[in-house]
């Protein structure tokens, strides 16, 4: 398998520059510092062609930021982005744009990502028209084809987004992304807002489209059940770092990192009846003020002295199974 998209040592910080008053206060000797949110800390991820990667983690772990960097919406503070082995930023303008079109994003809130004043046919048809995509015929037929492909009746083409239900809007978001013939879809919580019965329909659509268009997915979700069902490989993030990655079955059977284990233990399932929860204590620390060493150390049941000082190395512990935990050095 060749690497389709490779993210190398990505770090992303968000900061708000100091305003004039704060700068003057600092000159006068006040202790004013810029607040920096460390969203991603040296994250590397390789997405192979045809693969479905499930990216899971809790709020604030940086999964959406990583997705947006993968899709080219955000630029990393440090790090490189390679498309089929070449760094995207070093490509000539036109090739860079073509590479960018090959990666499309499907958002969680289809209502916020669809222009409320445009008709569905315009929403889906605009991008291929602007970018001169080869659609093999006229635009109307192409839009109808796409709508049928995602399970929408083409007779709805003149409607506005507010005239659709949540599940149908999700389908419009998908059709819009597919219109420029992408190879990689970054889906950021694409089914999170949908009811269970509708979620199943949209997940089935994702799987069908993957087979039809030979798509690669970076599927971001906080729902481990969805991730398990869909992905070939799962990546678990915690507070800006990848803590563990493994083929799906391996990860769900032999979770290595204490955070992954805690996460798997606490996902409610139909099978855990009247079960007494023994939750991990504490809350997710703020990405502004991160704990030193391993980010999970304040909540981890196995914390050692070393965890508070040293960042654990991300090492391969079994074929394809990588984890960042000091416990793996013990034996």
């Amino acid at each position: 398998m060749t690497a389709l998209l490779e993210l190398r040592h990505i770090t992303k910080n968000f900061s708000r520059p100091l305003d004039l008053a704060a700068k003057i206060a600092r000159l006068a000797g006040a202790d004013v510092r810029e607040i920096v949110v460390h969203a991603l800390d040296d994250v590397s991820l390789t997405i192979a062609e045809g693969e479905v990667i499930g990216l899971a983690g809790e709020s604030g772990c940086g999964k959406s930021t990583l997705g947006r960097i993968a899709a080219g919406i955000l630029t990393p503070t440090v790090g490189a982005r390679l498309w089929r082995g070449t760094e995207i930023n070093l490509l000539p303008m036109e090739q860079r744009r073509n590479a960018a079109l090959k990666i499309q994003m499907v958002f969680q809130d289809a209502f916020a990502s669809l222009n409320p004043r445009m008709r569905v046919a315009e929403i889906i048809g605009e991008a291929p028209h602007v970018h001169g995509i080869d659609i093999g015929g006229d635009l109307d037929t192409y839009v109808d084809q796409l709508m049928r492909k995602v399970g929408l009746d083409p007779s709805f083409r003149r409607r506005f987004p507010h005239q659709f239900s949540g599940g149908q809007r999700a389908r419009i978001g998908i059709a819009r992304a597919l219109a420029v013939k992408p190879e990689l879809l970054v889906c950021d919580e694409a089914v999170a807002a949908l009811d269970v019965s509708i979620q199943a329909q949209v997940l089935n659509l994702f799987m069908q489209l993957r087979a039809d268009f030979n798509l690669t997915y970076l599927f971001i979700s906080h729902d481990l059940g969805v991730v398990e069902h869909l992905s070939d490989r799962v990546v678990i993030m915690y507070l800006g770092r990848i803590v563990e990655t493994a083929p799906t079955l391996e990860l769900f059977r032999h979770a290595n990192h204490p955070y992954t284990q805690a996460l798997l233990a606490e996902v409610p399932t139909l099978e855990k009846r009247g079960h007494d929860f023994t939750p991990v204590t504490g809350e997710i620390p703020s990405p502004i003020d991160r704990p030193p060493g391993c980010h999970f150390n304040p909540r981890c049941p196995h914390t050692m002295e070393r965890c508070r000082i040293e960042k654990p190395a991300f090492r391969e512990i079994a074929p394809g199974h990588w984890s960042a935990c000091h416990l793996n050095d013990a034996h």
Partner: protein, 325 residues
């Protein structure tokens, strides 16, 4: 002992476009220290049921029938003043978004003491102690610092704990929780469910836990009611109902959960979508999406009792023998 009984509750919204029967003949009861799970998708009437019990339905909505008995006393007969005395005292509510409960410009201690002193004559010192204890009970560490904080200084999980602590302050007989953990992360959700489970057992408070997530219910509730288009289509003890769903809708919901399906295979799905309550045809509301529907379903099915503990609204239930085929 049964604390809350809801009988044939009907709440309708009289809109310009027509009458919406958001809650249609809903009946259930909850015992002391028990947790009842009320499950359904968006628009199924779960929240309107909760609001009807609490007397919070605003025009154009109106409760048009039924009874809500809190320890034998019908809440629907209460005037506004009597309801105000009961709310926050005998019956409390936890909302999905804790910022609906918390006042953003008041400190936590002010809000907690206010809740206490609105219902009983307690000294400031006593109110402070009670508030601190309540925070301790929901697993908040260093309660003294938290009491002095404003809501925006707390994380989402912490705010929801404070909202739960406020609901617990006056030791209510019933707490109605409307999707209280839906907006929270898995680890935080587990912590809160853990606390709630413990509290219900210890204090004997009856809980009505509203959610769209069957998996949460599986771990928490003693009994489950499944709502669809304003009606309870099926109810029963949690384990029995989840293992042997009889209504095709319940069975469809359970089957469409990703972890119940072989990995990578298409998910079992319920076709179509939830009907608009405004244009609800007579008969069973689920029949357009149901594989078992036939001409008989043109009439709304009445409640039947397949076993003593269960209720069902369906002419063609899934029986144990049909399931194994």
């Amino acid at each position: 002992m049964t604390v809350l009984v809801v009988e044939n509750l009907k709440t309708s919204f009289f809109t310009k476009a027509g009458v919406v029967k958001a809650v249609d003949n809903v009946s259930f009861s909850v015992g002391a220290g028990k947790v009842l799970g009320l499950v359904g998708e968006s628009g199924s009437g779960k929240t309107v049921t909760a609001f009807s019990i609490m007397g919070l339905v605003d025009p154009p909505g109106r409760i048009v029938g039924g009874r809500v008995l809190l320890e034998g006393h019908n809440l629907l007969d209460c005037d506004d003043e009597a309801m105000r005395r009961l709310r926050g005292d005998r019956i409390a509510m936890i909302f999905q978004d804790p910022m609906m409960t918390l006042n953003p410009v008041l400190r936590i201690d002010t809000q907690m003491k206010e809740t206490l002193r609105a219902h009983r004559a307690v000294s400031r010192e006593k109110a402070h102690d009670l508030s601190r204890n309540a925070l301790g009970r929901v697993g908040i560490s260093s309660p003294d610092e938290r009491l002095k904080a404003y809501p925006h200084q707390l994380s989402g999980g912490m705010r929801q704990r404070v909202a739960i602590a406020i609901a617990l302050l006056n030791n209510p007989r019933v707490i109605i929780a409307d999707e209280p953990t839906t907006a929270l992360d898995v680890t935080i959700q587990a912590q809160i469910i853990f606390e709630v489970q413990k509290l219900a057992r210890e204090t004997g408070t009856a809980m009505v836990w509203i959610t769209h997530d069957l998996s949460v219910i599986a771990g928490l509730a003693d009994n489950v009611c499944v709502m669809y288009a304003g009606r309870i289509v099926e109810s029963g003890p949690t384990a029995d109902l989840l293992d042997h769903p009889m209504h095709p809708y319940t069975a469809g919901l359970i089957a469409s959960i990703p972890s119940r399906n072989p990995r990578g295979k298409p998910l079992a799905q319920i076709p179509g979508m939830t009907p608009s309550l405004l244009r609800l045809k007579p008969g069973c509301a689920f029949r357009d999406r149901c594989a078992r529907a036939d001409a008989a379903c043109g009439v709304a099915p009445d409640i039947t009792h397949p076993t003593t503990a269960r209720t069902l609204r369906c002419f063609h239930p899934i029986t144990a023998t049909a399931e194994t085929q």
